[in-house]
């Protein structure tokens, strides 16, 4: 539960051996590919084509796709571990977007070739889609398709919009990751493929739920990395004649960060275990809310421990803290999801709260 080890082999949600091996491979791959130069180039706007190719060659983007559809067929908890490792290493590429969008589309019976798939947050009407831009779509400019969720008189469905059916205004988040504004051409929807979305979550959040789910996993990985960097720095940096790790103030700050990180990880794991169950929307809300809240605290404490050194481009810390600041506001910030949770809980009343939490955890097979 002390999420500080860099090894993926630590005890976590029960995982079969295959998943554990895959996570270890992922770790080695990312350690090799996500170099300082790769991160620097991505910051400057260059897509890390080699790293992304290695990720695809390893089939990581197919993790959640069923075996009969040519995927790896991992359970969501194991796939979530891969996303946490991607967060830990700061992979500057849309693995989480492609992994979940691809899995949803194929599970809905769609077909798909190679080429990056990303997803737009929200649940749209066909009419809105034709007139309003889709804001903050990750890597939309270089994607081959954008997955969009639609709900109107024609029912809930997924739409896969190909790249030549939309135009893009480029925009970057705080971590310099592309978050483009997408405008579908007048005749663009005609080029798109559509599938009924039987497994859609309840409510009006649409794909925001799935985006929140993957961002929660990534945030957990980034928090673990921040914590691990801060611990190493505290043991190394000397002031007043001793390592700052010896100062109680530093110790207690890091204990608080470890608590936040552990709570965030627990919430993210709950959501992964609830994937595909009726509890998923609620669980994803809990995960994004809890991780979003923890992200700000862990980033703040990590910077405080690193002092001025962590405030420089030269030190790697900002790769992870800037992602935490960006990700907590994407696919619904913590306040958004807290409000959703609060509305559900209040509508059901006080006596229903405990049974709901028990059911949530049961979906997570922990009890």
């Amino acid at each position: 539960m002390l999420h500080t080890q860099t090894s993926p082999a630590r005890a976590e949600a029960p995982a079969d051996d295959f998943a554990t091996i895959l996570v270890e491979q992922t770790d080695r791959l990312l350690m090799r590919e996500v170099t300082p130069a790769c991160l620097r180039d991505a910051d400057a706007g260059t897509f890390p084509a080699a790293a992304w190719q290695a990720v695809c060659d390893a089939g990581l983007h197919l993790a959640m796709v069923a075996e009969e559809d040519g995927g790896v067929g991992l359970e969501a908890p194991a796939a979530a571990r891969i996303l946490r490792r991607a967060g830990f290493h700061g992979l500057p590429a849309p693995l989480s977007e492609d992994m979940v969008a691809r899995a949803l589309w194929l599970a809905a019976g769609g077909e798909l070739g190679e080429g990056l798939v990303t997803l737009a947050s929200g649940l749209w009407t066909g009419e809105d889609l034709a007139t309003s831009p889709l804001p903050c779509v990750p890597w939309a400019d270089i994607a081959a398709h954008v997955l969009v969720a639609v709900s109107d008189d024609a029912g809930k469905r997924l739409i896969l919009v190909p790249r030549d059916a939309y135009s893009v205004k480029r925009r970057r988040n705080l971590a310099a990751e592309p978050r483009d504004t997408v405008r579908i051409h007048g005749d663009g929807l005609g080029q798109a493929m559509t599938r009924p979305w039987v497994a859609a979550p309840e409510g009006m959040d649409g794909l925001t739920v799935h985006g929140a789910f993957v961002r929660a996993q990534q945030m957990v990985g980034a928090m673990e990395r921040c914590l691990s960097l801060a611990i190493a720095y505290a043991n190394e940096r000397k002031q007043f004649g001793k390592p700052i790790a010896r100062f109680q103030a530093v110790q207690h700050m890091l204990a608080v960060a470890a608590g936040e990180s552990a709570a965030a990880a627990a919430a993210a794991e709950l959501a992964a275990a609830a994937f595909g169950t009726p509890h998923f929307a609620f669980a994803a809300a809990v995960a994004k809310a809890r991780c979003g809240e923890a992200a700000g605290k862990v980033a703040e404490i990590s910077h405080q421990v690193h002092g001025a050194m962590g405030f420089t481009r030269e030190h790697i810390l900002h790769v992870f803290t800037r992602r935490l600041w960006a990700w907590r506001d994407e696919f619904g910030n913590d306040a958004h999801w807290q409000e959703r949770i609060g509305r559900v809980v209040c509508a059901e009343g006080g006596e229903a709260l405990w049974p709901r939490l028990v059911a949530l955890r049961a979906a997570g097979r922990l009890a």
């Binding site: 539960m1 002390l2 500080t4 914590l227 611990i231 505290a234 043991n235 390592p243 790790a245 010896r246 109680q248 530093v250 110790q251 207690h252 890091l254 204990a255 608080v256 470890a258 608590g259 936040e260 552990a262 709570a263 965030a264 627990a266 919430a267 794991e269 709950l270 809300a285 809990v286 809310a289 809890r290 809240e293 913590d334 306040a335 999801w337 807290q338 409000e339 959703r340 949770i341 609060g342 509305r343 809980v345 209040c346 509508a347 009343g349 006080g350 006596e351 709260l353 405990w354 939490l357 028990v358 949530l360 955890r361 997570g364 922990l366 009890a367």
Partner: protein, 325 residues
Amino acid sequence: MGLTLPKVYGGHERSSLERFVVTEEMLAAGAPCGAHWIADRQSAPQILRHGTEEAKALVIPRICAGTCYFGIGMSEPDSGSDLAAVRTKAVRTDGGWLLNGQKIWTTNGHRVHYLLALVRTGDAGDDRHGGLTQFLIDLEAPGIEIRPILDIAGHHEFNEVFFTDHFVPDRFVIGDVGNGWDMVTQELAFERSGPDRFMSDYRLLAALVDRIGADPGPREAVETGRLVSHLAALTAMSGSVAGMLGAGQIPNVEAALVKDVGTAFERDIPEVARRLIPIEPSLDATDDPYGEALADVMLRAPSFTLRGGTREILRSMIARGLGLR
């Protein structure tokens, strides 16, 4: 009661995860954790692991039957966070030990039958952790005086316990002489990770939800939702520590982490509640159960971050667990 204890002593031999779930349900339902609580949670497992056959035969069946209550004999006036500073002393005598000294903050000391007490039986040694031994103390035996301590709400829950040439027979020594420190450390893992460390004011949260009503404003929804997201994460964390305990591990650091995060959550609930539903809590608002619950929690809250190890002690433990050196 006795859920995890062996059938041979009248227990049910269920897993500690099952005990964990039952505990949660009791707390969620607002059932009082009575005087038998400590015995069931931490004293019985200790005696089972480390006690003599006589000690086990004497107390475990009665713990399973719910007729035997325990108190914790760790703290002393000059040894609160610094357990190694224990000064209550036992000297060897015929067939046992003679105890002199004082324990403090003994929960329900006036109603329990036994203490598990940490007592100095030798030199502390270089690491300050040596020379301590755990004893089973029969509070009805001679040489014991119990004095009440009133808490800030005026309730009598805590006590001082004084020992004057109190005789403890050898069969009441728990574990090896001089090995008390390690055992207490294990015991605290049981004490710290349970749902009673983050659900003691759960009922106030449930009452707050009802008081807000089915159609909350954005402020009420956001604040309530935040608390629920914390609680969901805590139940998962605590459950995973229960699993580790059940597997025979001693997850001290993890337990400290659950308690530190858990007590912060417990302290948050009344603070959020009072800002969302503006009432003036009263000591005698008998016409308003919600106000009474809030007042009760408000006056108990300072103890949340003290009992079972202060926040500061826990954070230092966590820091060591993180590898800070």
